[in-house]
Amino acid sequence: MIIVHKKNILAIILILLCGIAKSQTYTISGTVTDSLSGETLIGAAVIDMRSGKGALTNAQGRFSLTLKSDSVRLRVTYVGYKPIFEDILLKSNQKRNYLMHSSTELKTVVVKGERIDNAKSSQMSAVQVPIEQLKSVPVLFGEADLVKALQLLPGVQSGSEGNSGFYVRGGGPDENLFLLDGVPLYNVSHMGGFFSAFNTDAVKNVTLYKGSFPARFSGRLSSVLDVTTNNGNDKQLHGNGSIGFISAKLNLEGPIKSERTTFSLSGRRTYADFLLQPLVKRLADRREYKLRAGYYFYDVNGKLTHRFNDRSRLFASTYLGSDVIYTRIRTLATDVQEQYLNFDTRWGNIVSSLRWNYELTPKMFMNITGAYTRYSNRVGVTYETETLATEQQDSQTSEFQMDYLSKINDLSIRADFDYTPNPDHLAKFGAVFTHHLFQPEVSSAHLNAYSAEVMNSSYIVDTSINSGSIRAEEITAYVEDDWSVNQMLKVNYGINLSGFSVENRFYPTIQPRLSGRLMLREGFSLKAGYAYMTQFMHLLSTTSVSMPTDLWVPVTADIPPMHAHQVAAGLFYEISAIGDLSIEGYYKKMHNLLEYKDGATFWGSSQSWEEKVFVGDGWAYGVEVLMQRNFGNLTGWIGYTWSKTMRLFDRPGQVINDGNPFPAKYDRRHDISIVLSYKINDKIDFSATWVYSSGNAATLSLQEYSQAQVTANDYAGIDPEGWNGYIANPSGRNNFRMPDYHRMDISANFHRSFRNCSRTINVSVYNLYNRKNPYMIYESHEFTYRGYNGALVQLSLFPILPSVAYTLKF
């Protein structure tokens, strides 16, 4: 355990801050927004061309640039927008709000110079992909999906075909911090992981951090996906609606009170249940038996923004998403008795936040955020019988209900400050307090029987087991500084102090972060970084497929926090006419990882989850190559990853695989992705992706042997035929590789503008050459199975799948 010395912490903070203070100068501050929508732009560069000093806009589109010179020439740039140049005579602090014109608006082709300066940033292992580019990536059923597009980046892998599971640099699916407007989202999967919870129509900006995490982020080991949603158009009401293969979407945004208050509202729902209902009815319904069954998911994003003045804004945002599987069976058991069996499974998130953004001084911004986030899943079964009164007996009803519930609730408040004393420093500091309430497993049963035979005679039983809630408090404080030491060297250094209090136990941690950039020459830099991360909660999952039964559980007095050290280094090169090339290598060591014990799963209530898991370690290393192009008519990227991910569970009494290292389930040696979009003209653009990866690891038992009969019966021991059963004998955990995975998808968008609106028809084909990729492999011992005595059978999910979507924008 790390012991926190208060004096040491104070000293570190003072050292961090003292380098920031410099001589008095003048400050230009303001916001950069889209001229048409009034939407603030995140990451726009504001640079003084004379001194070379500059700043980037923050998550609220604000910038602060403090300069010495009297006369400055500012250049404001952002991907896909025409640059703005302005000469300013600087004799006092200046307020500047820039309205940028997009290339679409100007009907011009955006060319070089307006690109993300990847080589210049001190941040490494971070990827920012323009949202329009993510939207253009062809995906399953034509449903644009942010997470699945990001899976195509090097270092990021999906769990299995079509899955939105997220495995970053050898980390598990629970080691990713998904932030929606700064608030954690626990489950980002819809439909068993085939779609993510993010509706791309509501998203403004996405940044993925795979390592070298800035100190402001904590709580997960492997990645941070920072998603910012639209504030809403402050000029006029706009919207778009689309109908796709499986879902319909509607997005509306506009001013409520001109240019001061805006709203943005997006909703999405699948409608396969409506379409399938007639079929289910036709196939299943008989006089004495009726079946209604279906599945759907929906999500709603809403955001209200109010601008009090140029210095003060208030944001209220909410996300509501849910998946529902339902089955209703009505059986006419006899002429007087009906039986109803209902099965419902429902899981989803609610995230709400209220944020006040205030400019304390031209050099300092403040964000105060209060947030609530909840993830819950519920499996419920209800069985009812209703018997009508006859001459022989009176009426009777009975109802039996069983529920399984798992929930996590967070209430948090945080304060974040951005302080820009001069162009050489951008300091961020703040603190977060979170109250967690975990209810990992709650099972309840309810029985209500009523008989009219005896007047008002009823029998009611209510019971609830394993309903213990776990309360926990998490507190975090951080400080970081992005320091331009000189033209060549830039450093981002910081520290994150976190503590987690649970079950009368307090786990304090000190998490140092450091990353630096050495500019070898213009457009060519060397970067390196180190991050120490701690995670205070786990997701218990037995499969690589996202399931509603996955349990979020906290660390406890017996289960310690996970922690990881990650070092990374890389070369970044801007090839002027082509794009940005990066080559990164990383090594990550992880401790206190959880795995289910051999043979244990989420099934069964006789043991608590703590009794079903072992604690162990892991490590991962690899090389990632990314060639990315964000400008011009041809955009996209080519990525390659070579990686290795291992696990070791050899602690006393907690041994898996005989205490020997074994590959993690999502260990893949090679991973290639090519994502290209080409805009032919304003009316047509094409996109294509091709992915290839080595097969997933799986455990296969190559030998089987007879089982000794442990219970008394006549066959005990005398069992050469294996009547007692047989035991599969795997030579090791994850000893087998499934076949390689590869697939090509294409899509085309056909745009047409009308007087007051425009429409886009998207035609896409998933799995163009109909590759049968492995979803799962199982052993078949069917005698008649296609003539095989025994065989390995591969199940593939998605063959070639064409789809069409229609979008109307107004």
């Binding site: 379409l275 079929l279 037995t542 219970t711 069992d719 035991i727 063959p799």
Partner: protein, 319 residues
Amino acid sequence: MKKTKLILLIICSLIVSCEEVVEFDIEDTKPFVVVNALPNTDSLFFVNITYSRFFLDNQAFRPVTDATVTLDVNGTPMTLTQRDGANYLSNYCIAAGDTMTLTVNVPGYETITAATRAVPLPDLTVPIAEIDTLQPITAGEISFTLNDPSSIRNHYFIYISERDSGTRWNQWDNKWDTIDTVVHSYFTCFNREITDPCVNRIEGMMDYYNQLLFTDSLIDGQQYDITLAIPMFRDTAENPLLRQYTLIVESLSPEAFRYTAEVTAAQGIGQYFAEPTRIYTNLRGALGIFAAIARREIGITFTYKDPTTPQQKRIHKSR
């Protein structure tokens, strides 16, 4: 109708069964020798020796017929003779406290060895069996007390069985065999205070168990009362007036306990979601188990005097 066909076509295109047999390029590995011996205090000692099989084979396990098997009991060696294909028999019945070493030599394989010790069975009070006919579902209850010996780690395995007869398809001879078999009954356990992590309550459906497997780490040296309730349905048995059960209490050696726990966990209800695992073996140079069991079987009979009008709770004898 056209609409339905269209929907059907769309669904078929989505969920088209993309199953195919995968070419498997791993060579058939050399089979292991498998030695299974769970000697108990009720029967003569015997060992079953077979070869393991490749997982894609559907053949029966091949017996090892040319092995040399030696058992050393408390320092006295004896050689077992081969009978019935894979079985090697002795004329010795083990006793509590025996220390045994098994040595097996199979041509082409290294010498296989293992050791175990027969743990004495603790005292058991005579069970009381009663039947509760007042509830909607009749329950038969069996209560008994374990007198756990102190200062020794004991491992218990408790289950209830009901003898039954029936037929089973013999795929090797293409005929039906008549068998007299044992059906393990589900029961509820009213002693939930066993919270030792070592307790492995083998689960059946819902809140019922069909086996109890636990150590005495929390009840060491104590008298421990256990009540088991068996759900009974009067109208399902051929003879509704008589139900005969056997209560079996076993004291396992540590090796037998671990083997049993791992086998039952690997074959539990959630096995399809769990990773395949290697089962414990105490044999050096082979797979399987060599572990002693002390066993006591107690017959329990439940009868209804008048199955059509069950009116009151009745207490019945046990033997």
